[in-house]
Symmetry: C2
Subunit: 218 residues, 2 copies
């Protein structure tokens, strides 16, 4: 039996961020489904694990970890000596480059792609009509962020350097879903970004997880 329990869903972008990481590290885990439709994540038992009532949550023995980007760092550190080195902690310079570009994902990329994904996939399920003005505003901002990536990826193979790291990995769930929208050209018209996406999305750890990312497929 796997000692790590990941509470979440295989179609949730934040859950899959952690699952990709666990596969990269070759760590066994048990995925414990959380029933969002009965609001299981807002019940006392779940709130005792994550007071913000969000998936995913990782339980490893007595330690309970929430916020997907904290979980990936924990997994990368705890299983330092197996699988892909995702944080380069032996080098202060390389680990800092990973941290910088992980922060870029968090502060520059996520805030502009999140509203697009929400409008396209989630709003219709909530009976709301898609707000094109929000999409257009954020597509423009996303293009500017990806312009910076295009230049960076002309200098190094991956965002933090010539090595795949958490900085790349953290982007994957949202780009995967974004490529299913009518605006995939925003990625595809930037050749370095397109090649980077094709490279990282062809990794085995990601392909295992992508199979379950069926949100919006119906």
């Amino acid at each position: 039996m796997a000692s790590l329990k990941l509470h979440g869903l295989p179609m949730s972008s934040c859950t899959t961020r952690v699952m990709i990481c666990l596969h990269e590290k070759g760590v066994e885990f048990e995925l414990v489904p959380v029933d969002l439709f009965t609001a299981q994540h807002k019940q006392p038992d779940f709130l005792s694990k994550n007071p913000f009532g969000q998936i995913p949550v990782l339980e490893d023995g007595d330690l309970t970890i929430f916020e997907s980007r904290a979980v990936t760092e924990y997994v990368s550190k705890k299983f330092k000596d197996q699988g892909t080195d995702l944080i380069r902690q032996d080098s202060l310079e390389e680990s800092t480059l990973v941290k910088i570009w992980a922060e870029v994902e968090s502060q520059q990329f996520n805030p502009v792609i999140n509203p697009i994904i929400y409008q396209f996939f989630v709003a219709p399920l909530q009976g709301k009509s898609l707000d094109q003005a929000i999409i257009d505003e954020n597509l423009e901002k996303l293009g500017k962020v990806l312009d910076v990536y295009e230049e960076k990826l002309g200098k190094t193979k991956y965002l933090a350097g010539d090595f795949y790291s958490l900085a790349d990995l953290h982007h994957m769930p949202y780009i995967f879903y974004f490529m299913k929208t009518p605006w995939a050209h925003v990625v595809n018209e930037r050749p370095k970004v397109k090649a980077w996406w094709e490279d990282i999305s062809s990794r085995d750890a990601f392909k295992k997880v992508a199979e379950g990312m069926k949100f919006g497929d119906n």
Copy 2:
């Protein structure tokens, strides 16, 4: 001469996030002002340091670091053995708790306090009228985030545990400015959050930096 150069401004919340950290660690640095009014941060020289054209940027020899939360982690690691231990890197459990609550600041707190600060302090300077609906929506969300903090701070003295860390520090610039708005009661009506703020804002490292945080004082 200090070997670390911090490009930024003493009234900028992201610059001060780094300055507080440098003072906590007892690290000398040179603050190099960036003239935002002439858009110095959008000129090629600055963009070569941070392609997103934002302050702050830390230069330490050949290493150039942007994104304030990446800079604080770098400073905390590089100067591990001096000043306040802000990341607890010797304990995987404690450093993970710091990371969780630093991510809470980044993903839960910052996105809801940021629009309030923007509406109150920045929009008027840009000739825009304050959008009360945006403020109200985000005040409600902020209250819910601080409800979680109130419960957590009833169990531990600081967010990550009974020790001050980056998880607390990262909140300070925005809370400082928020306390100057008409909505400071959102903090003050939560006794544990109020006591936490009074505690962390009385630290010497913060007081040194707060003197320069004059945005909106005119």
